[in-house]
């Protein structure tokens, strides 16, 4: 099957339905720069409520509130452009010390892209009976793919794979800390706080 997977209800096993959704939401933040539709959704009443709910879920109400504020701070086109610029500078750019490549291999001591984390994630995707869609050009140690794989494991009720997937996300704590430092009080600093909280919470369980 080549079509991209759509979000499906979480299997009614020993998993939390919201956790998977939060993982997907976080994955989306890191996968691409936001488009107008996503910004529009985040600015809507329902979107803002959902973000606040994530803040409650992860016990980071301030961070969620900051996101809501950033999304509403200006016209939709202005916010969209501002966040697109910030995304590029943080995750796609290269110059000087502003960028934070969202790949485990950069942060786990490998010293280059496409390190062993890529191989381990490929193995985990196989376990989930998944492969990367042909439209995706990112290696599977991209944080968005790791988070989305975790969400998929939760949806499939594959609890035995969750520890390994969380293990692959160990680097995310340092990544989040650097992101917080790099983005100051920006949108992605708030996302970083939620990422950190998500990983902490998941590991505690």
């Amino acid at each position: 099957m080549n079509a991209a997977l759509k979000f499906a209800p979480v299997a009614d096993r020993d998993t939390d339905p919201d956790l998977a959704l939060v993982a997907d939401w976080l994955a989306l933040q890191f996968l691409t720069a936001p488009d107008a539709a996503r910004i529009g959704a985040g600015r809507s009443t329902e979107g803002q409520a959902a973000l606040r709910q994530i803040g409650v879920l992860l016990d980071r109400r301030d961070a969620a509130e900051a996101l809501c504020h950033k999304l509403a701070d200006g016209s939709a086109p202005e916010v969209t452009v501002a966040l697109q610029r910030r995304y590029t500078a943080l995750f796609e750019g290269i110059f000087r010390q502003r960028g934070l490549p969202p790949y485990a291999s950069v942060w786990d001591g490998t010293g280059r892209l496409y390190g062993p984390a890529v191989g381990r994630m490929q193995a985990l995707l196989r376990e989930l009976d998944l492969h990367l869609d042909q439209t995706c050009c990112e290696p599977p140690d991209h944080i968005a793919i790791q988070l989305a794989a975790l969400a998929e494991a939760l949806r499939q009720g594959r609890t035995e794979l969750v520890p390994a997937l969380l293990g692959e996300l160990r680097w995310a704590v340092r990544f989040a800390a650097s992101l917080t430092a790099a983005d100051g009080n920006g949108y992605y600093a708030a996302v970083a706080q939620l990422l950190n909280a998500f990983v902490e919470k998941a590991e505690q369980n």
Binding site: M1, A3, L5, F7, T15, D16, P17, D18, L19, L21, D24, W25, L28, L31, P34, A37, R38, A41, G42, E46, G47, A50, V56, L57, R85, T88, A89, E92, I94, F95, R96, R98, P101, V106, W107, R112, L113, Y114, G119, Q122, A123, L125, R126, E127, D129, H131, D133, Q134, T135, C137, I145, A148, A149, V162, P163, W171, F175, S178, E203, Q204
Partner: protein, 822 residues
């Protein structure tokens, strides 16, 4: 929680009830386009054969990921740089997506030129990028004319007969219009222009007497600024590394070796050679002093000069001082080159009494008036009279790429052409073409002086107005001299487009950056050894392209398509169609040479290089032996058919900086020079662990960097004089610029000279400020941008003096290679 089980978040507030149920749309989660159902097939570890500038190797692949590049088992001396080659594939500084500089995208071409290099890029889709490039080509051509588009794009592109990105760029542009081209190169810019006047051919890219023959016959091997055991790590095609077994044979034969160089080289070390260190840039004076001794003591070979050369009679008055009042005696030369006159006299006697090979390196002509060096060496060799004899004479291509490794009998692989209709056999980058062609190192001068008339090799060029530069397979922000002058010139460009694999300084200073594949992400075919031509190697794709990288072939195909010439560009052939076509043409040619190559599929699937034979005669080749044997039948390509020690053609040009015979001319600056301001000469040598700037952004850097900077070698005496210690971060500066470096104190370099290898990545502390401190160590901030002379207009990468001092104050972080530390 245990390590092998997982519990859901069953806190009192959440339980399994979903608070976010129904919120997916509100969160923008319409479906992440990431996964498809079904596990991907897993492949075991396999070795995929390929080749690169550093040699033939196997890319070891596990589950679609390269994990190691292992040298081919028949490589006689695998390059230690190979780990960096793999690292370049997966470098942290890999360009991942098409990017456009924000000011250019939002405000149009030419916007905020000083913002280039400051890193404010916007990611765009490939579709958008192609459209932007195609439209800009059209705009520039329509607004300013065809010549306003510069495609003289130069540099060490990857090997391979299909994916020669520079040819492919010109192919696309020839099919859609024209452009300004470049001629010549940075390696031998002066020598390759003057040598056809002197010996009738390029020489610097032609086979010299083989190592085998030297081992048998040479009695004194002189490496003059020539270091094959460093520079033969690489080849323009795929390296064969034949210099190592060749030099090992010389060592085994016990051939005495003399190394004339400001640095005690790897070659000198390996052969336990005698090291003589004259002041840099004084080679011509030193050679004249030796020549004068030869003549004065009657050690020259007048019979050889009479039979095989022309113009010695016009050179002699200069040598003897009859024409200018200054006899070029050993004593006169000693004052200039800094060696004792007795040493020069001794060299003259030793050269004349032994079968002597004078092996000259390229660096000696990358200096002001560099043309004179090769001319004078040939004059000296002609006076010795050993040219064309086994083990004697001169060799101008031992310097790199294993020149002297015997040439095999092989067909020559044809390459995808540039669609200009011109055939470019041999040195393709030396061919002209385009609406206008300028000497390659004069691009900065051209940008700053449109409309100016430039003298070049006997004719005049009106420098064109350039508004757009398109660069592929090169890094001008490394190889061009005088970086700050270059930055000033770059302001004149509306648009600078770069294809590359890593965020080099050139990519960072571009307006549009397109991510190209490395050789290891595409299929190609190449020959092994620039001189040996020992094998044809399948350059197989090792891994799929990473991120959004595309091959230059495909990028230009899309641009050509946008401009209405898509089919003409591709000829309807795929990458593998081209590989097969090129191989099969060679297969036909091989029959004419009495060989039968296997069918293509057998060759490709064998995963081995295809070997070609070498005869005893080829193993024992002596350069110019045929000319010596019969100078009429095998006349040289000069006007007289002989070695021209005086050129009537050059006399007619009347250049004030290139007289008609080899002449000592003061460079603009040198150690001990009459007007020189700074006390230390800059030896901008070839690096040991990278290829120019290639691989600087890889793991290889860890083997040589000092305090995370490019090393600066200094003699202990110079360090003591300045109160410097090993490992210090120093500021190296002159009137042209300033840079940081890490100090290495060593007696392997002569006093008065510091060595900073060329190719360190330019890392300005403030990219918006011309003259800003380079915090990593790009030596071409300090070297001069002047031309060698009006004849060749070559670069002077080895002309430069500077001062070195301890850097004090907060140390700026090197940021050019990587992302922030974790």
């Amino acid at each position: 929680m245990t390590n092998n089980s997982y519990k859901t978040l069953d806190g009192p507030m959440l339980s399994k009830r979903s608070f976010l149920k129904g919120s997916a749309a509100a969160l923008g989660l319409a479906g992440l386009p990431l996964f498809a159902r079904g596990a991907a097939a897993q492949s075991g570890t396999q070795g995929v054969l390929s080749g690169c500038h550093w040699g033939v190797f196997y890319g070891m692949v596990e589950d679609g990921r390269a994990v190691e590049f292992k040298p081919w088992e028949e490589d006689p001396h695998p390059s230690p740089q190979l780990p960096g080659v793999m690292d370049s594939l997966y470098s942290e500084s890999r360009i991942r997506y098409p990017m456009v500089r924000r000011a250019w995208l939002e405000q149009g071409p030419g916007a905020d030129p000083d913002g280039r290099g400051s890193g404010d890029f916007v990611r765009v889709s490939w579709e958008k990028a192609i459209e932007l490039v195609a439209n800009e080509i059209v705009r520039v051509r329509e607004t300013y004319g065809q010549q306003a588009l510069y495609a003289g794009s130069y540099g060490w592109k990857s090997p391979g007969k299909i994916h020669n990105c520079q040819t492919l760029l010109r192919r696309m542009l020839n099919l859609t219009g024209s452009y300004t081209n470049s001629s010549g190169d940075y390696s031998t810019g002066a020598a390759q222009v003057i040598l056809p006047y002197v010996s009738g051919s390029l020489e610097v890219y032609e086979q010299c007497t083989t190592w085998n023959n030297l081992a048998e016959n040479c009695e004194l091997m002189v490496f003059w600024g020539c270091n094959p055991l460093n520079n033969s790590q690489i080849s323009w095609q795929v390296a064969d590394h034949g210099a190592w077994p060749g030099i090992a044979r010389m060592k085994e034969a016990g051939t005495p070796v003399l190394c004339i160089d400001p640095v005690r080289t790897e070659t000198c070390e390996a052969l336990n050679g005698e090291w003589i260190a004259p002041r840099p840039q004084t080679d011509v004076a030193m050679m004249l002093g030796i020549a004068h001794t030869l003549y004065e003591e009657g050690l020259h070979d007048q019979a050889f000069l009479d039979r095989y050369t022309a113009g010695f009679d016009k050179f002699l008055p200069y040598l003897l001082g009859q024409s200018d009042g200054t006899p070029k005696t050993a004593d006169w030369a000693a004052e200039i080159c800094g060696l004792p006159a007795d040493t020069l006299r001794d060299l003259a006697r030793r050269f004349a009494s032994k079968r002597t090979m004078l092996a000259l390196g390229y660096s000696t002509q990358r200096q002001h008036h560099g043309e004179q060096v090769h001319w004078m060496l040939i004059t000296l060799a002609a006076m010795l009279g050993q040219i064309g004899l086994p083990g004697g004479g001169y060799g101008l291509s031992y310097h790199y790429s294993s020149g002297g490794s015997p040439t095999h009998t092989t067909p020559i692989l044809k390459a995808v052409d540039d669609a200009s209709g011109q055939t470019t056999e041999g040195a393709a980058w030396l061919a002209g073409g385009g609406a206008v062609s300028i000497p390659v190192s004069r691009f900065v001068e051209t940008l700053l002086n449109p409309g100016k008339t430039m003298q070049f090799n006997g004719h005049e060029i009106e420098l064109p107005l350039i508004k757009m530069a398109y660069w592929v397979g090169g890094n001008p922000f490394s190889h061009q001299q005088d970086r700050n002058e270059m930055l000033r010139a770059w302001r004149e460009l509306d648009t600078f487009i770069v294809h590359d694999v890593q965020w080099t300084a050139s990519a960072r200073h571009a307006d549009i950056v397109l991510p190209a594949t490395t050789s290891y992400e595409r299929n190609d075919i190449e020959q092994v050894g620039d001189y040996a031509l020992s094998h044809i190697v399948p350059m197989k794709k090792i891994v799929e392209p990473v991120f959004e990288a595309r091959s230059d072939f495909d990028i230009f195909a899309d641009i050509a398509e946008k401009l209405g010439q898509g089919y003409a560009y591709t000829q309807g052939l795929t990458e593998m169609d081209w590989v097969r076509k090129i191989y099969e043409a060679a297969k036909i040619e091989s029959r004419a040479k009495g060989m039968e190559m296997p069918v293509f599929d057998v060759f490709w699937d064998s995963n081995k290089p295809l070997a070609f034979p070498v005869t005893e005669a080829q193993e024992d080749f002596v350069r110019h032996a045929d000319f010596r044997e019969d100078p009429l039948l095998n006349a040289l390509g000069t006007a007289s058919g002989k070695f021209e020690l005086y050129s009537v053609a050059i006399e007619r040009y009347g250049y004030d900086d290139c007289p008609p015979h080899a002449t000592w001319m003061e460079p603009i600056e040198r150690l001990g020079g009459p007007t020189t301001k700074y006390p230390l000469h800059l030896a901008a040598n070839h690096p040991q662990m990278r290829l120019h700037s290639q691989l600087c952004g890889t793991v290889n850097r860890e083997t040589y960097q000092i305090a995370e900077r490019e090393p600066c070698w200094m003699n202990p005496a110079d360090a003591e004089q300045r109160g410097l210690s090993d490992g210090d971060v120093v500021r190296v500066f002159n009137d042209r610029g300033q840079m940081l470096a890490g100090l290495k104190i060593t007696d392997e370099i002569m006093p008065g000279v510091v060595r900073i290898n060329e190719g360190g990545w330019f890392d300005p502390e403030n990219p918006r400020e011309i003259g800003s401190l380079c915090v990593y160590g790009d030596v071409n901030i300090l070297t001069t941008g002047v031309a060698t002379s009006k004849l060749a207009q070559g670069n002077c990468g080895h002309t430069g003096v500077a001062e070195v001092e301890l850097f004090e104050g907060p140390l700026p972080e090197v940021t050019v290679f990587s992302q922030p530390s974790a």
